[in-house]
Assembly symmetry: C2
Homo-oligomer: 139 residues x 2
DNA sequence: ATGACTGCAAAGACTTTGCATCTTT
DNA sequence: AAAGATGCAAAGTCTTTGCAGTCAT
């Protein structure tokens, strides 16, 4: 039988932190966020719990953005937008690739498809404005 | 004016290595591949050239797979499949999300979309067989 | 009591970078 | 000769892990 799982205040806090934000946080973000409330929290614990939650399907990875893995507490299918400039990650509800594309790929290529990620890249509004300013006031 | 770019044997070799395979290599793979032919090649040079090529649009990043960034010399739009078990990356030509989805996202969310990545995850044929064997012969 | 969870710090893995040297132009 | 490219090794980041102590059941 599988290993028993016990309650822990830190674990609960880590999950709440992720579920309570829409910024698709990194491990470091969660750590910084919880450190004031849990002064003895360690970064290792954050990593261990993120792995635990992902393996148990409570959160999913959005992928690695600018060197840091980002997580999402929303596990229902939806796409993301990543700002190439500041690394902000946004949800794009309603944006999905063609219907049942997983099955299409599975059949067409004979692969055991388990899921997919659709991620858009570009500049968020804020960074787009900054870039514009640079254009208007070249060095 | 921009900085001049000069020819270099190593740079050419790095690009050829990527263009000459469909395995979507990592920096380490390129390094190991070229080391016998260029005994004085350094890993730093591989990284510097990969960055150079990506910034100049000669290659693109497929994303980080099992901790290593993977590259693709095919920069025309196409999707990928990543094996969650062995990390193999496959091209999926012909698989694309809905027509002009970039523009749809751009309009619907007011974002400056520059592109997207559509990646499927699952088990490749080889790993799927292995998993099956495990099922058939449980511990 | 048992064994899961944690803090701490060391180790690991991947990537970047400073500087002297070599190469291209 | 000027400036870009490289080798080497050190440093930088992010993440994982071993171990002893703590906490939940």
């Amino acid at each position: 039988m599988g290993r028993a799982v016990r309650y822990s205040k830190k674990r609960e806090a880590v999950l709440s932190a992720i579920q309570g934000t829409d910024c698709h946080p990194s491990a470091e973000w969660v750590y910084q966020r919880l450190k004031p409330l849990h002064p003895d929290l360690s970064l290792g614990t954050v990593y261990r719990n993120l792995t635990f939650f992902r393996e148990n399907g409570l959160i999913q990875s959005v992928g690695v953005v600018q060197g840091q893995e980002r997580f999402d507490a929303v596990v229902s299918p939806h796409s993301h937008f990543v700002c190439n400039c500041c690394g902000t990650v946004l949800d794009l509800p309603g944006i999905e690739p063609g219907t049942d594309l997983d099955r299409t790929v599975s059949r067409q290529y004979g692969l055991a498809v388990q899921g997919h990620k659709l991620t858009f890249y570009g500049l968020c509004s804020s960074c787009a404005n900054t870039q514009q300013n640079f254009k208007e006031e070249p060095l």
